[in-house]
Every structure is written in C-alpha cells, then in structure tokens.
C-alpha cells in the first residue's frame, strides 16, 4: 500500500516536471502563460486609467440672455464633466454642432427662464444628451443634479430673505444629506473594472495555454502513430494532478504580480490584505487548471485553442456580473456563471481588494471554487482517460 502511494507520488512528480519543461520551452504557450498576464493588465489599465469622462463639450442655446441664464451657464462650465464650447444662435445650429460631433449635449435655456424666476414660478431648462456612451451621460447627469440643487437653493435664499425668514432653516435644507462611495471612492472606471479583469485574465490565459498544450500533444500523436512520445506514462489521476501542480506553480509568481503590483502601479483601490486574497484565489487557479485540462477534449490541434476559447472571455466577463449584476440575471445565466471559477473569483477578489472584505465574508465564493475544483478534477480525469483510450484504439486499428 505504502509503495503504491509512493509510486503515485513519484508519477505526479515526473508528470509535473515534464509539463513544466513542455510549457516553458514552448514559445506559443509562454505567450499565454507569461506574456499575457504580464502585459494585458498594464494595457487594460492604460486604456482606462484616465478614470472619468471629463470636459465633455456642451453647446448652449440661450434665448433668455439674462444675468440669471449666464450664471447657470457659468455653473455648467465649472463642473468637472462639462465644458461649454459656445453659444449657438438657435437649436438648428446646435443640432448641426451635435451631428458633427463638436458637442455631445445641448442645453436650451428658454426665453422665460429669468422672468419665471422673478415671478416665483418654476423655470425649466431643457438638456439634450447623446446616449451612445452611458459613462458620459452618467457624469453629466450627476453634475446637472448638483447644479439644479445649488441654483435652486440660491433662488430660495433670494426669495425668502426679504420676508425675514431665518436663512439657515429655510433657504438651505432642513436635512443634510451626505453620500459616501465605497470601494471605488472616486468612481473611476479603471478602479472599477481592473480588479475584476485581472482575475479573468488569470483564468483565461491559463485555459488558453493548457488547451494549446493539449492540442500540441494531439498533433504529436497524429504524427507518431497514436502515441505522444513526450508524454510520461502515468495513471489518469497522477497525470491530472501533476499537470495542475505545474500550471499553478508557474502562475504563483504571476498571481502576486497581477493581484498585488498592478493595483499598486496605478494606485487603484487596493485595501485588502494579501493574507486574504492570495489564499482566496488559490482554489480558482486549481479549478481553472482542471477546467483547462477538461477543455482539451475540444481542442483537436495546437491552434484550435483560439477559435474555441478566446470568445469565452466576453461571455465570462458578462457572467461575472461586473457589467450586469448577478442579482438581475435569469436562473439560466446565473447557473451557467456558477460553473465558471473566475465568476466566483472576481466577485470575492473585488470585495477583498476594494472593500477590505475577508475570506470569511466571502465563504460562499471560496467554497464554491473548491467545489468547482473537485468537479473539474473529475471531468479532467474523464477527459484524460478518454483521450488515452482514443489513442490506444487508434494504435490497434
């Protein structure tokens, strides 16, 4: 019994050593295993690093032409998100600016704007905004709300002061309200999306590399009459475990780089403890490795990993709930997402990294990833046996 266990461990070690050699000497696999995790996070962060949409060009059509309307325009121009590019003589001219992309929004101040204020009637201002990018719209909307409140408070003070009412109680607001943004305090786009993306990069690059290794091995079998001359004879379980250990071993330094140094380089939110997030992503790496080995069944040659795997990144990005939250998904997509290690990994890591949560807070994610690791271990064994059997059959025929 002891001897069998010892033999098994030796088998695992031999498989691991061979897989490390195969991975580290294959330039195509290295591109996925090393270059992708090294540079993709940098490229992504550089794209999104300006963080917010600012100084969006806005055209003004001012039919009021009064001190009040000019005050409103000055307030608009002073916001972070908007930049007044000029006064158009009428809506038709503003529309031409809009169509030629000289501005992305039009503010129309009607002729009765100032008059209504003087008469203590409500004044309406029309704001037309382009909806091609919600980020732009969102930035402008937030500032417009503040303008509306601030300008309104000014008017209230002016109206009520002559009546002799206490300015503090009436002109301002009887109830203060203070908003706090958690996690991504500056509401930056890179700070929001990068912590999730880097986890997805880890899983996807690993699966791409593993499926490429699998396809290459099948190419070798095809050339060598059904046997892969570089494969180490081992039982399915030893082979699967050995390969998984090799991949996780390669990914350990990269994981430290991606999860710790990338947020530090770009001063993205990074408040979680390394003692929380490194142990947290370990089951995701293990599950991804087994998932990759399982998917080898779909990759019949070296280059087939591209058409089979690459597009899944988009699907997984959406399944993770980063753009469309998981609580609003139908049971079908939620269920599909449940099967993806990175979906749980992203959810938990984002909260650990940006909200300073612990593994304990995210025990459901953590346990689910171990459950997926166990499940994909079984499927990986099945795939390995199936591929070996197919090879043996071909040899006999």
């Amino acid at each position: 019994m002891m001897k069998r266990i010892k033999n098994w461990i030796f088998e695992v070690a031999r498989v691991m050593r061979r897989e490390l050699t195969l991975s580290l000497t294959d330039i195509g696999v290295l591109l996925f295993f090393v270059v992708l995790p090294l540079f993709y996070p940098l490229v992504y962060t550089l794209i999104y690093n300006p963080e917010v949409a600012h100084d969006i060009p806005v055209a003004i059509v001012d039919d009021s032409r009064t001190a009040d309307s000019r005050q409103l325009v000055r307030m608009t121009d002073a916001t972070e998100s908007m930049n007044v590019i000029g006064y158009a003589s009428d809506m038709a001219e503003a529309r031409r600016w809009f169509d030629s992309k000289d501005c992305y929004a039009i503010m129309y101040i009607p002729a009765d704007y100032s008059r209504n204020l003087g008469r203590h009637e409500q004044s309406h201002v029309e704001f037309y905004s382009d909806m091609s990018l919600l980020l732009r719209y969102r930035a402008m909307l937030m500032d417009l709300t503040s303008i509306q409140l601030a300008a309104g408070a000014d008017v209230r003070t002016q109206t009520l002061a002559p009546l002799g009412m206490a300015a503090s109680s009436m002109s301002g607001s009887p109830v203060n309200n203070v908003a706090f943004m958690l996690g991504d305090t500056e509401q930056g786009f890179a700070s929001f999306i990068i912590p999730g993306i880097i986890i997805l990069i880890l899983q996807q690059s690993m699966i791409l590399g593993i499926t490429m290794l699998g396809g290459t091995s099948r190419d070798r079998r095809l050339r060598n009459g059904g046997t892969d001359p570089l494969a180490v004879p081992a039982t399915a379980s030893a082979s699967v475990i050995g390969r998984m250990l090799a991949y996780v071993f390669i990914y350990l330094p990269l994981t430290i780089y991606v999860l710790h140094f990338v947020p530090v380089f770009f001063s993205l939110p990074h408040v979680g403890s390394p003692l929380q997030y490194f142990p947290f992503v370990l089951p995701m790496l293990v599950a991804s490795a087994f998932l990759g080995i399982t998917l080898q069944i779909m990759v019949k040659e070296r280059e087939m990993s591209f058409p089979v795997v690459v597009f899944t990144s988009i699907v997984f990005l959406f399944l993770s709930g980063l753009t469309w939250p998981r609580y609003a998904m139908s049971w079908l997509w939620k269920g599909v997402g449940d099967l993806i290690p990175a979906v749980w990994g992203m959810e938990g890591f984002i909260r650990i990294n940006s909200n300073n949560a612990t593994i304990f807070d995210n025990s459901d994610c953590y346990l689910m990833m171990w459950a997926l690791a166990a499940f994909y271990f079984l499927t990986a064994i099945w795939t390995t046996r199936h591929l070996n059997r197919a090879t043996r059959l071909r040899r006999h025929s």
Binding site: P50, A53, S129, M170, N176, L182, S354, N362
Partner: protein
C-alpha cells in the same frame, strides 16, 4: 477567367464540409454570443438593487422614510441592519450594494430645525448597481428634506403652489436622445455584438489562410486558382464574406426590427454590414501577410480582437483616453462601425455626417489589397512553425 475562381470556391466549400470549426466559428459562436447578450439584458435596467436600511431613530418619520425608499423602483430593501458595522458586513459579503442610515433623533431634530444628517453608502465596485442605489438614495434624501421644508413654508403662510415652486425653482429636464429608457441592452448589445462578430471574422480569416501553410496545402490551393493570388484569396474568403454578412444582417434585423432597438436609417446599417465584414477580413489578411504563421497571426488577431472591446471606446470615451492609446482605436474596423451605428441607428442623422466612417471601412480593403501580395512567396514555400 472565372474558372480558377469557381474551383477555388468549390475547394473551399468542401473544406468547410470536413472541418466542424467553420460551422462553429462562423455561425454558432456569433449567434450564441448575440443570443446570450440580448437574453441576459432583456429587462433593460437592473433595478431593485438589494440594499439595507439602518434605522437608528425608529420614529414614525423614519419608518415612513424606510417605506418610501422600499417602494421606489430602484431600491429593494432586502435587509434591516442594526448598525453601520452590520451593514458594512453585508456589503463586504456582497449581499447588498448600498445602505441608507437614518441617525438618532432624526425626527426630533428635523422638526425642531436642527438639521440632522442622512447618510447613504453606495458600493461603487459594481458600477451599475452602485450608481442606481446612489440615485435612489439621493432622490429619497432630497425629497424627504423637501417635504419638511414644504410643511414649514406652509406654516409661514406661503401658499401650497408657491411653496412647491420654492422647493425646486429650477428644473433641468433631461432628454436622453435615442435611448430615453437608459436601456442597458441597447447601449451594450449594439457594440458588443459587432465586437464579437469582428473577433470571429479575424480568427476565421487567419485560420482559413494560414492553415494552408501549416498543412502545406497552400501550393495546391494556388494551383487550383491557376496561380493567381487574387483569385485564390477571393475564392477562399468570399464564401466567408457571404456567410458573415448574412449573419450580420440577420442580427441587424433581430436588433432593429424584432427587438425595436432605435434605428433611424435601417438601410444605411444594412449597407455598413458587408463593408464592416470585408474590413475585418482585410484587417486579418494584413496580419496574415505580415506574420504568415498560423499560431502567431491567430495570437495577434485574438489579442486585438479582445482588446477592441475596450480600446474601441464602447464604454470609456476615446476622447478621454491618453492620446497615445486612444489613437489605436482607429485601426480597428469595429470602431468605425460603432461610429456609424451611433449616427445612423441611434441618432438617425444624415449619412453625410458618417461619410468618413464608411470611407474608413473601405480603406481597410485597400490596405489589404496592397499588402496581400507578400503572402504569395510564403504560400509557394510553406514552412510550418509551431
């Protein structure tokens, strides 16, 4: 003259027959991704954000506020937390995306003019639910303070109408052009579905061309086309152009006619689709000509195809990117297609304003025509580099 072309097309179609990857990459994946995105975001906006309330006051006024908050469209009060600390724990475990705190003595202070403070916390690590929660909380906080002002003003003898006006003397009416519902599916599906189409066109073009080099069948391929590289490439890629264009048109019909996503000029969108498909094929062909190696060209196409989703400015505006980065968005066909979509479908403006975008798509084809002859030498001496 057309003899070589016909044979090449026939040869290509029989290749499709024997390789399932063509069916997979040209038809199944684009349709599946489109179905996935459209079904996922079917409801338009993920309202009813799970949120918590921390009511430290427990008075009729605070309970009223809680009820009003729970009855809004945006917020779903899924938890009543005892303290800030408990609510933060719920945020950290992902059960809620924000919470609203009503302080001690809220009612007493509000009625006696001592200005209590309502605080609310939105978890911005998830942008959409965080923003929606923020919006719901803010509206409620402003409304509740407005209500108190109104009551007091009326107490001073100001008429109800005048009090209402004084509460909000200036109103900025927002008109969201093209997408008045802030529908997320309209916003994301219209960019991500063409993005996925571009990715698969890149991959399948490289695959079809460079596989001939890997399997050393490229000489036979050229021979079928009577030695003409043009005929060989057209014969190989034209069937793909047709399939991808038909898929693209089908998706246009689904988006704009079946789901009624805003579309000002349907015809102009249909016109853009074949140009877009050919531009994507040309882009991939240029990459094949520069690196005529199956694995490398596929790697490059996959990298750019995936980066396109970010760099083409679907979510973050190109104007606000660093100049040195943003400029790369313009080498991607999907960027131009996206600009055409904004003009012709979403805003429905005159095609005059989009003329350069259509021209840009055609330029891709010219670039490929100029660079493709480099391929011929490699096709005549196929060497497989793994």
């Amino acid at each position: 003259m057309f003899k070589g072309l016909g044979h090449t097309i026939k040869r290509e179609l029989s290749r499709w027959n024997s390789r399932r990857v063509y069916l997979w990459g040209m038809i199944l994946v684009p349709l599946a991704v489109a179905f996935f995105l459209l079904d996922l975001m079917n409801s338009g906006l993920p309202t009813q954000v799970p949120s918590a309330i921390v009511d430290l006051d427990n008075t009729p006024m605070s309970r009223n506020l809680t009820r009003s908050l729970g009855s809004t469209e945006l917020i779903k009060i899924s938890d009543h937390a005892e303290s800030y600390h408990d609510a933060m724990k719920l945020v950290r475990s992902g059960k809620i995306y924000g919470f609203f705190v009503i302080p001690h003595d809220f009612e007493a202070k509000a009625l006696s003019g001592q200005t209590p403070t309502l605080t609310y916390y939105s978890n911005m690590t998830y942008f959409v639910p965080g923003t929606l929660a923020f919006k719901g909380f803010k509206t409620m906080a402003v409304l509740s303070s407005g209500k108190i002002v109104e009551t007091s003003l009326e107490g001073y003898g100001i008429s109800e109408d005048a009090a209402g006006t004084l509460l909000q003397p200036i109103v900025i009416d927002n008109h969201q052009l093209g997408n008045p519902w802030t529908n997320y599916s309209i916003y994301l599906s219209n960019s991500f579905i063409p993005g996925a189409l571009e990715l698969m066109i890149f991959i399948m073009t490289c695959f079809a061309v460079c596989e001939e080099i890997k399997r050393a069948t490229s000489r036979q391929w050229l021979a079928t086309a009577r030695g003409s590289l043009t005929k060989a490439l057209v014969g190989k890629l034209l069937p793909q152009t047709v399939v991808f264009t038909v898929i693209g048109w089908f998706l246009d019909v689904v988006l704009f006619r079946f789901l009624h996503f805003p579309c000002g000029h349907f015809g102009n969108m249909m016109l853009a689709m074949p140009l877009f498909v050919i531009a994507c094929q040309s882009f991939a062909l240029v990459i094949c000509a520069v690196v005529p190696n199956l694995r490398l060209s596929l790697s490059l196409c996959s990298l750019t195809g995936i980066l396109a989703f970010s760099i083409a400015g679907f979510s973050f505006p190109v104007d606000n990117m660093y100049g040195a980065i943003g400029i790369f968005s313009y080498i991607l066909p999907v960027r131009w297609y996206f600009l055409i979509y904004i003009d012709q479908a979403l805003n429905g403006i005159d095609i005059f304003y989009s003329r350069q975008y259509y021209m840009a798509l055609i330029l891709f084809f010219l670039a490929a025509a100029a660079l493709a002859p480099r391929l011929k030498k490699r096709l005549l001496n196929p060497v497989y580099v793994p």
